[in-house]
């Protein structure tokens, strides 16, 4: 996998998840008690043996830079290769929209690197994929481009890239669709191709007026390439809306999903915080929940996820909720169907309740 350069494109449209992304990129939304979304893609790359990863910085780069830092926690603080930050282009190009211009303005970085292949990903997916199998598949099929897809098991709405494949994996159609059904083959926005194909595609498409990598680079030019689909049959979630975010978190409460994502041979790395183990006190009562280190629990918690360093005081009841880092839930408060962003303080005896399919969101640093 030394021949593969990973790219994580953090330029996603995040209009559907605005509450949680007011001050951060979608890829750095806290997830599953101690992670950020980008950890899943980045760890999959590292575990697959990729040691050169370029991160296309989003418009609000601060939260991504703060999280990834030197790349050391992902073993990417290296003298050769390692983590590269690719900043968005200057203002002079603001008249063109879409993500293609960001690739175009970083073309020299891709061209100067020594890797033969490019693995293009988005940072807003939850999965744990072994990309070395993808490379083997790509080499065996002699594909120009290989896309990774997952087969949906239930109906879901939201913008998805859907593909159709022949029996040998050859992609026969790619389209953006508003809904998926049981059996639909859904792209994970992961593309593997030789760098020369990638560079040619970006250059030609952008210079001929293209704006969007997927629409103008792939879908419109699909006939020009030999595209194959590679199935990842593990857990996949695309966090592109608040509902998807809430659902994906709740999915982790299924022990099989928790095991598959985190406890297999390939760990998910994240920024290390050195928190102490969870302290359960005399009055604690926790059921069916994920509790991250650094929490102190004196109250009741059910079907919920507590991030690092949350304090749950006596008499508190938390149900079906996601409580992010360093929240302080004080005595006697009742919390149900709520997403608390970081550093929220819920003072004594408050009652917050969202709907099961429409969780209440409490934004960062708020005191209630």
């Amino acid at each position: 996998m030394k021949t593969v350069m990973g790219i994580i494109n953090l330029q996603e449209d995040n209009s559907l998840i605005r509450d949680l992304t007011a001050r951060r990129a979608v890829e750095s939304i806290p997830f599953a008690g101690r992670y950020r979304l980008i950890d899943f893609t980045l760890s999959s790359m590292v575990n697959s043996g990729i040691s050169c990863v370029g991160v296309m910085l989003p418009d609000k780069p601060r939260s991504v830079l703060d999280h990834l830092r030197s790349g050391k926690d992902w073993d990417l603080a290296r003298r050769h290769d390692g983590l590269f930050y690719l900043p968005a282009p200057q203002q002079e190009d603001m008249n063109r929209k879409g993500d293609l211009k960001n690739f175009y303005h970083n073309l020299d970085f891709f061209e100067h690197s020594s890797q033969r292949y490019v693995l293009l990903t988005s940072g807003s997916f939850v999965y744990n994929v072994d990309f070395s199998q993808l490379l083997r598949f790509h080499q065996n099929t002699n594909a120009d481009i290989t896309m990774v897809y997952n087969t949906a098991t239930e109906e879901a709405h939201g913008k998805n890239v859907v593909i159709e494949t022949a029996e040998n994996g050859l992609v026969t159609d790619i389209a953006e669709k508003p809904a998926v059904y049981d059996g639909t083959q859904v792209s994970t926005n992961v593309y593997l191709m030789e760098k020369r194909i990638f560079v040619e595609m970006i250059r030609y498409t952008y210079e001929h007026g293209g704006q969007d990598f997927l629409i103008d680079g792939i879908i419109r030019r699909a006939a020009e390439y030999n595209i194959y689909g590679f199935e990842h049959d593990g857990y996949v979630a695309h966090v592109d809306s608040t509902a998807a975010y809430y659902k994906a978190n709740m999915d982790i409460l299924q022990p099989e999903v928790w095991e598959e994502l985190f406890m297999g041979q390939h760990p998910i790395y994240t920024k290390v915080k050195d928190e102490v183990p969870v302290q359960y006190k005399e009055t604690a009562d926790v059921k069916n929940s994920l509790i991250a280190n650094g929490c102190i629990v004196r109250g009741e918690v059910e079907n919920s996820i507590l991030f690092r360093g949350v304090n749950v005081a006596e008499g508190v009841k938390i149900k079906n909720s996601i409580i992010m880092q360093k929240c302080d839930i004080q005595e006697g408060s009742l919390i149900e169907n709520v997403i608390c962003d970081k550093n929220v303080i819920i003072t004594k005896e408050k009652w917050l309740k969202g709907a099961a399919n429409y969780p209440l969101i409490v934004t960062k640093n708020v005191v209630i």
Binding site: A32, M263, Q279, Y280
Partner: protein, 384 residues
């Protein structure tokens, strides 16, 4: 190597035989403690937090496993260009190698390492204690006193004093007199086994001591009394926080239990962080029928049964209906359905079979050694 102001040397060389089954496969400094740490995390984190960037760890047993745990020292942020953690086992010289014959001999055999680091001061630490301490304050005191040696001391209950090295000091803290395990102690200031020496001063005494065939090459028994006899400037430095020897099964168990107090005797999570090599595991999962009380539980564990008054390390599985009480369960151990564990320390990678019982009692903690399986009938283990 660039010059270092203060070099720390951690004496982690004891065979740890008092920890019995727990040190069969791992070196004593690597014994797990407190739900996610290893014993050596405490002196190493103290060093890192005190700004001491170069640390030698003297061990005779299983240096490779320790090397592997400490790796480059990056977990403690000790992987600086001119710093780092150095494992120092006794190594072969032209004449072959010998075990360290005592604490002083261990340092003596590594004088070439000390010379290479070229510090002004050498801080000598023991690898057996759990405590958080800012050594830079002690170093400041050492400099202000213009001391040649400074010894960390702590007040112990008078009735326990005969078990320690006891210091008698004048009102400025200068040590007048030192007695190793005195029957009738004149004070209750016990040596913590923490020493700061001026480097050249230390070197001279170590070289003299090495030539002395009657010496048992021990700091407390030989080096310190010799220094005092020479009227050297030895000062005490008083520490009044939590400080616990974890060199025996009972004290290791008790120190773990101390952390479960409603207000723990010392803060693991304050500004003075205890760093540890991180296992990259998710938040632990608590099952629908689990009960957890008065306990610490760490990442990557899955608790489906009951846990009370216990410390659970990363990656532990506790099955449905299992009961773990008053116990310490170390990493990656599996406790299957309906098993019972009480007053026990279960080491790493053990398996307690379905319905099996491991029960000790207060003052007689049962230990299951690393990698063992306790079967449900014949194998159920009693205190001993």
């Amino acid at each position: 190597m660039r010059k270092t102001e203060c070099l720390a040397m951690i004496l982690a060389g004891g065979q740890g035989s008092r920890l019995g089954a727990l040190t069969k496969k791992i070196a004593k400094p690597a014994v797990p403690f407190g739900g996610k740490y290893r014993i050596i995390d405490f002196p190493l984190s103290n060093c890192a937090n005190s700004g001491i960037e170069k640390v030698g760890v003297l061990t005779q047993y299983r240096p490779l496993e320790l090397h592997n745990y400490l790796a480059s020292g990056s977990a403690w942020d000790l992987d600086k260009k001119d710093g780092g953690v150095f494992i120092l086992p006794p190594y072969a010289r032209e004449k072959g190698a010998e075990w360290y014959r005592g604490t002083a001999d261990a340092i003596y055999q590594n004088l070439n390492f000390i010379d290479l680091a070229d510090p002004d001061y050498v801080l000598i630490l023991s690898g057996d204690h759990i405590y958080t301490m800012d050594y830079s304050w002690m170093l400041d005191a050492h400099k202000m006193n213009k001391a040649e040696a400074t010894i960390g001391v702590i007040e112990v209950p008078w009735d326990e004093a005969p078990r320690f090295g006891i210091m008698n000091t004048d009102k400025d803290g200068r040590i007048e007199d030192f007695e190793e395990k005195p029957a009738k102690p004149k004070s209750n200031l016990a040596s913590m086994g923490i020493y700061i020496f001026n480097k050249n001063f230390l070197k001279k005494y170590l070289e003299d001591d090495a030539k002395d065939e009657t010496s048992s090459h021990d700091f407390g028994k030989n080096i310190i009394p010799k220094m005092l006899a020479d009227k050297a400037r030895l000062y005490s430095y008083a520490f009044d926080g939590y400080w616990k020897d974890v060199g025996t099964i009972e004290s290791l168990w008790q120190a773990n239990m101390d952390l479960l107090q409603d207000v723990p005797p010392f803060e693991l999570n304050g500004d003075w962080k205890i760093f540890s090599s991180n296992p990259s595991m998710p938040p632990h999962f608590v099952g629908p029928d689990a009960k957890i009380k008065n306990s610490m539980v760490s990442e990557g564990s899955m608790v489906l049964g009951e846990v009370e008054n216990s410390v659970i390390f990363p990656g532990v599985r506790i099955g449905k209906g299992a009961k773990v009480t008053n116990s310490v369960v170390m990493p990656s151990t599996v406790i299957r359905e309906n098993a019972v564990v009480d007053y026990a320390i279960i080491a790493q990678n053990c398996e307690i079979a379905e319905g099996a019982k491991v029960a000790g009692e207060k003052g007689a903690i049962t230990v299951v050694a690393e990698g063992e399986t306790v079967e449900s009938e014949a194998g159920s283990k009693q205190a001993g």
